[in-house]
Chain length 331, copies 2
């Protein structure tokens, strides 16, 4: 299998690192596995015989690797012969999905399997892309797009195969959960908690993305379309952020054994809004943790808790890559 990685930011680099670390296990599934190309926003590196991973994990910028094609684009890389799988890890843009959307479209049209951790393209064009994948007989996997390391799509598709999902509720944004936890445990104001989150570098550049529930709403769009047979867009999510949550409200809830959490819900409702959660409810996790609560006809209620962002997201990307490798072995 010949792999290209599009995007060499934090996730792209961590993916290369994980592939290098796990190469022994991977080679047992596919002796011919290799990374043949990597692009960043300015150019790419390419070697049809496979790039040197040991060198790759020690460079900061892609241009530090030998034979960096300065004027090349990711699209050129996708057009190279014999590409079997693209890992797409470009920056998220939820307005138009670009540049990832163009790259994923192009790859799928060429019959290239795609693994992505980028919400943008799926929020903008979920139906188009999944249809395109089916038509071209290839896989489009996106475990890393929702709740980082939490394997929610695989859980539903591979571990609850007999179940019908009735409701999904989740804490899907670590930054707002950090802010609300700080208000809950330390009695700080929203403004102060936000400022600290910003100083610790756990907010997006535009805090609105987190605190107004935009990020969580994007995840709700993907979850609803992928796991609950909906066909919704970002605009269909009723959305209320946490800006107007006061310290008084948090304290009052706390006295009654509740915490205020920013919860995404998919059932008859499709919404993201602050809600009172009983402190003993499995969903009531704190700090930057994410949690997803699934209600289904057979299993009843299952909650999955873990890291929703950061390098742990690579676990989801690796699982998607292994899924494709194993499916190819079977066929």
């Amino acid at each position: 299998m010949n792999v290209i990685i599009v995007g060499f930011g934090f996730i792209g680099k961590e993916t290369v690192r994980a592939l290098y670390k796990k190469m022994d296990i991977i080679k047992r599934l596919d002796e011919e596995f290799r990374i043949i190309g990597i692009s960043d926003s300015k150019g790419y590196i390419y070697n049809e015989k496979g790039l040197n991973l040991e060198k790759l994990i020690n460079i900061e910028r892609l241009s530090d690797y030998m034979a960096y094609n300065e004027s090349g684009s990711a699209e050129e890389l996708i057009e190279k012969r014999d590409v079997d799988l693209m890992v797409e890890a470009t920056p998220t843009n939820i307005k138009n999905g670009e540049p990832g959307l163009t790259f994923i479209r192009k790859a799928l049209k060429r019959g290239i399997h795609v693994v992505t951790s980028n919400k943008g393209p799926l929020v903008v064009a979920f139906k188009e892309l999944t249809t395109l994948a089916k038509m071209n007989n290839c896989q489009l996997l996106y475990e890393g797009t929702v709740a980082g390391a939490l394997p929610v799509f695989s859980l539903v598709r591979k571990c609850l195969q007999g179940d019908k999902i009735r409701r999904i509720m989740g804490i899907l944004n670590g930054t707002t959960n950090y802010i609300l936890s700080k208000m809950y445990f330390e009695g700080t104001s929203f403004e102060l908690a936000l400022k600290e989150a910003q100083e610790r570098g756990i907010t997006e550049r535009d805090p609105s993305y987190d605190v107004d529930g935009i990020d969580a709403a994007c995840k709700i769009v993907i979850l609803a379309n992928a796991l609950m047979n909906k066909d919704i867009r970002f605009e269909d999510v009723k959305r209320t952020g946490i800006r107007r949550i006061t310290q008084e409200a948090v304290s009052l809830a706390k006295k009654a054994n509740y915490a205020i959490k920013l919860i995404g819900v998919i059932d008859k409702r499709i919404e993201v809004a602050p809600k009172l959660v009983p402190i003993n409810h499995p969903l009531c996790v704190h700090g930057t943790l994410n949690a997803i609560h699934i209600e289904s006809d057979l299993a009843g209620r299952i909650t999955l808790i873990g890291y929703g962002a950061g390098k742990e997201t690579v676990s989801a990307i690796m699982n998607d890559i292994f899924t494709i490798l194993k499916d190819l072995r079977k066929s």
Copy 2:
């Protein structure tokens, strides 16, 4: 696919009910799917053309079904021609694994896929049975044996395929968790909490099985052997129950924001013992809930919470059946 169900107690009946309810989806995977035989401890029913599920879900005892073979044994049923899959749901016996162990051995030797929710055979003979399955080129799946509806084996094998598991910790017994939660929230003594659990019918006949950590230790044996490459037996689990947990200890812990929980651990240690768990830790769930906390190299920490017993266990059995159905379709 021709299926037999061995054991027609609570789980056997709920499995028939779930198969009946999901027959539409199942038939889409395998038009020829049918249940051809069911046994209980005294006899069996059999029809090579398929049993009538609508009748089956309305009877209390198997002998109420037409043509009940009163003198027949489950072993005879396993020997019938054309059996492809056995769902084994006989009562658990952790001393010698019987009668399930004999049935599973026999089925695997005949190349019949096995799905079981019965801990006994796997605690007694994990290595023997998994080797037997491999040798006979058939699947032995046992998702329902540990933590009921929680799909921990599938989660690790299908959703964390790139991860190396470093530690598993869990609340694996709902009865002791109910007792400890009652002591924590209502300030009752161990004795009173146990009595109430017994009155509510959530303990085993012999309370020692729960409160001395025997049940949890059995689950640790299966988890360690299945997911962490161990080769251990029941005797290898260091085990301390909760009989000596006093109300005073629980209150003291509570004041310091901890709860006392019966925790199974697999790392360098292999043990079941009461431990202090911070009340904000994802593992700190209450009532009869189970929780499993998995530490791995890529995903970091993932916690899975849900119902560890009861009819929800059928979700695990159904998922195993779907796994076998889908694998057969691919091959």
